[in-house]
């Protein structure tokens, strides 16, 4: 019996093949339980990856993001709600406290329901702007699905956008061998502020725009945003690495669009949607299953020629010493740590700085193991003495930030580490002078002690 129980437990444990690196307690906030059915595949995927899912309505009394000062959930998933507010347990301040306590939030909006005021305030705090009156529908008359929205053009078909820049790792492009697209049905677009913490994952195509269906049904003469300024899926990673994702269309995550067939206007054949894979990558990033970096260890030591057994991580160096620095980084990918490779045109940099960097050098990968990569660089310490720091400051979109600082003293030359005077050619006349003086002194002593006066002085004396 015991054997059977342990076997079953182990069997279930083996099935869990992906887990978040920062906890598995997920809270899903929905208006009513019937919505669970429309998102059953998405929620089922989340449970399959090892999350413990709790469902609550916003106004319920048992909903508490904090308990005795600690977070009771690690992640929150919001679906669109009809009510104007979100209740006393989800005020904007509580949600901000949740983000400050390293909690992750995935927020899904919809064009058919105006966003609750709590959500709008929270988004304003993060510099994400929704259309005025919280009513906005994104349409595109050139990239819509003719099968489901031939008249209203509100189902956008967007190709996965690839890397944001050549030096940023791409986490959100599902493979599309047959030209599959991501369907974005009846969603709201957002505009973003200029901060470095906000990154759009999916931008609207150039010909799309957002309008208010109630007031701008006839013609648009004052557009909220259009084209690539309109962000359909936005991410924000705070400085404490808490992640916040806004998905403009909650229907993107619904069962209907996970395996739908769509046909873009102007094309001849139908293709499938990539929504399921896109939702997996999106929720995986937001709930810290991907894009998480870890520093395993840091080591620096003296690297001079002809030294013996340099100590590891000494507290003090001398100016112009040759030093080597090693740092080992791992990346968490779905369920295990893998070696971290820096993206192509990006560099991992070491700064050797006092108040400002004296050196900023590229760290090269030297060793790759099963779960980590070691990066290293060797350089000569500056000829300025003082207190210096080895700083690695690696902050990039979609990766957690790596900030490591090791402080060392750098002393000046000791009195016996300078070059000797006999190797300095300019000193030779002076050394010759000393030698001449010594010889003259000894000669004089011998002369004075043992000489006999010359004849001339004798005669002078007896005068």
């Amino acid at each position: 019996m015991k054997f059977l129980i342990s076997f079953v437990v182990l069997f279930w444990a083996a099935l869990v093949h992906a887990i978040s690196s920062s906890g598995d307690r997920l809270l899903v906030v929905l208006e009513d339980a019937a919505e669970k059915e429309t998102y059953s595949k998405f929620l089922g995927d989340l449970e399959g990856r090892g999350f413990q899912v709790n469902y609550e309505t916003p106004k319920s009394d048992s909903l508490n993001l904090f308990h005795l000062g600690e977070r009771s959930y690690d992640h929150v998933l919001f679906f669109p709600t009809k009510s104007k507010g979100l209740g006393p347990h989800l005020t904007p301040k509580i949600l901000l406290d949740f983000i400050n306590a390293d909690g992750n939030i995935l927020l899904a909006l919809s064009a058919s329901q105006p966003a609750p005021s709590h959500i709008v305030s929270l988004l304003l705090e993060l510099d994400i702007h929704l259309p005025p009156d919280r009513q906005g529908l994104v349409v595109d008359h050139f990239n819509y699905d003719v099968l489901s929205a031939p008249e209203k053009h509100d189902v956008l078909l967007v190709h996965p956008q690839g890397a944001l820049r050549p030096d940023v790792r791409d986490f959100f492009s599902p493979a599309a061998p047959g030209g599959e697209v991501i369907a974005f049905p009846s969603g709201t677009g957002q505009t973003l502020g200029a901060g470095a913490l906000l990154t759009p994952i999916l931008r609207a195509p150039a010909t799309s725009y957002s309008y208010n269906p109630k007031e701008q049904a006839e013609a648009v003469d004052d557009v909220f945003a259009s084209g690539s300024q309109l962000s359909l899926v936005t991410t924000m990673q705070a400085r404490n690495n808490a992640r916040f994702t806004v998905v403009g269309s909650a229907e993107l995550l619904s069962d209907k669009w996970f395996d739908a067939k769509v046909k873009k206007v102007g094309e001849t054949k139908e293709v499938g949607t990539l929504n399921r894979e896109f939702a997996k990558q999106l929720s995986g990033w937001t709930f810290k299953e991907t894009g998480v970096l870890k520093v395993n260890w840091i080591e620096h030591h003296l690297n001079e020629v002809g030294q013996v057994n340099a100590t590891s991580n000494p507290k003090i160096y001398r100016i112009k010493n040759d030093v080597s620095y090693y740092i080992s980084l791992s990346e968490y990918s779905w369920d295990k740590y893998i070696p971290f490779t820096v993206p192509e045109s990006d560099e991992l940099q070491l700064e050797f700085s006092m108040l400002s960097p004296f050196h900023r050098l590229k760290l090269e990968p030297v060793l790759t193991s099963r779960d980590s990569t070691t990066y290293s660089v060797s350089f000569k310490l500056p000829d300025q003495h003082g207190i210096f720091n080895f700083k690695v400051n690696y902050k990039r979109p979609f990766y957690t930030s790596v900030e490591e600082k090791n402080t060392v003293s750098v002393r000046h030359f000791a009195h016996d580490e300078w070059p000797r005077s006999f190797v300095i050619s300019g000193a030779w006349p002076w050394i010759a002078g000393i030698g001449a003086t010594v010889t003259g002194w000894l000669g004089f002593c011998a002369l004075w002690l043992y000489s006999k006066p010359a004849k001339g002085s004798e005669s002078k004396k007896t005068q």
Partner: protein, 291 residues
């Protein structure tokens, strides 16, 4: 006649099918004008006319800081004037890819107007150096195909007298420029030849000194007499003077102060103790008149 009749029916069907597929938006009678400040009078600086079938205008439209840019056109669907939902003039910067839409004000019959001043351009487009590409996007709901095409280039000219607009690029995380510390140069000595010449000059003074002593009558004739009178004292005394120089040399070469000082102590004691006797012997020779 029969032949013509059988010919006409499929032709009618074909044309009907053709009009069905070709339901699309377009525009006609577009007139673009750039007018200067009101004080210049109503004279427009640059007037262009085009419609949806003309190619992109060959010369760019120059748009200065005090100019007002006016565009008038008539949108049509299938040849009939109609009001579309979306009628934008989109200005795009080819180098950065940034776009700014300007919605046209459209009346029911399809007559559309747009007026832009340079101050309405977003700052990133206003300070660009190359020409901007302007395209018209006219589309609406339903099955009619939308219209999107580049229609002309815009060159934005800033008033050189006006204060330059400062645009700070927002911070984006990425790699920073490499820094290598520039070391101070090591101290340098003059060429070795110069040092050798002067060192030889200094060394040459030693034989000069000894020769001049000899010329002046220097000698060590009393050495045997002194050694005969007080051999140990003189030996130790002169030896300690020479040993002191040796200690100085060893201190220069390898010793530290803590090795040197005891030895100096020993040698000075020896010099003191032997010196009284040795110098006493010298005094005796002086008193005897031999010095």
């Amino acid at each position: 006649m029969r032949f013509l009749q059988s010919f006409i029916a499929p032709l009618m069907l074909l044309s009907a099918g053709a009009t069905q597929a070709a339901s699309s938006w377009g525009f006609e009678d577009a007139k673009l004008s750039v007018s200067g400040k009101k004080a210049d009078g109503a004279k427009d600086k640059d007037v262009r006319k085009f419609d949806d079938s003309t190619a992109i205008l060959p010369t760019p439209v120059v748009f200065d800081s005090f100019d007002t840019f006016k565009l008038k056109l008539k949108t049509k669907e299938n040849g009939k004037g109609k009001r579309p939902h979306q009628a934008f003039l989109v200005l795009r910067d080819p180098t950065s890819g940034l776009e700014a839409p300007f919605p046209l004000t459209v009346k029911d019959g399809g007559k559309a107007t747009l007026e832009i001043k340079q101050s309405e351009l977003p700052i990133q487009l206003a300070i660009t150096t190359g020409p901007l590409k302007a395209s018209l996007v006219i589309a609406s709901f339903g099955s009619a195909e939308g219209f999107q095409k580049d229609v002309f280039d815009v060159e934005v000219v800033r008033d050189p007298v006006a204060a330059p607009v400062a645009y700070e690029k927002p911070l984006r995380y990425g790699k920073l420029p490499e820094i290598h510390h520039i070391f101070r140069s090591d101290p340098q000595s003059p060429p070795k030849v110069v040092s050798l010449v002067f060192a030889l000059a200094v060394v040459a003074t030693v034989p000069a000194l000894f020769i001049s002593w000899l010329v002046l009558g220097g000698n060590v004739s009393h050495l045997p007499k002194a050694l005969g009178a007080a051999p140990i004292a003189h030996g130790v005394f002169f030896g300690s003077i020479v040993a002191m120089e040796g200690v100085f040399f060893l201190y220069y070469a390898t010793w530290n102060l803590f090795q040197t000082l005891p030895v100096i102590g020993l040698i000075s004691t020896a010099a003191f103790l032997s010196g009284t006797k040795a110098l006493g012997e010298v005094q005796s020779r002086r008193l005897a008149g031999e010095r």
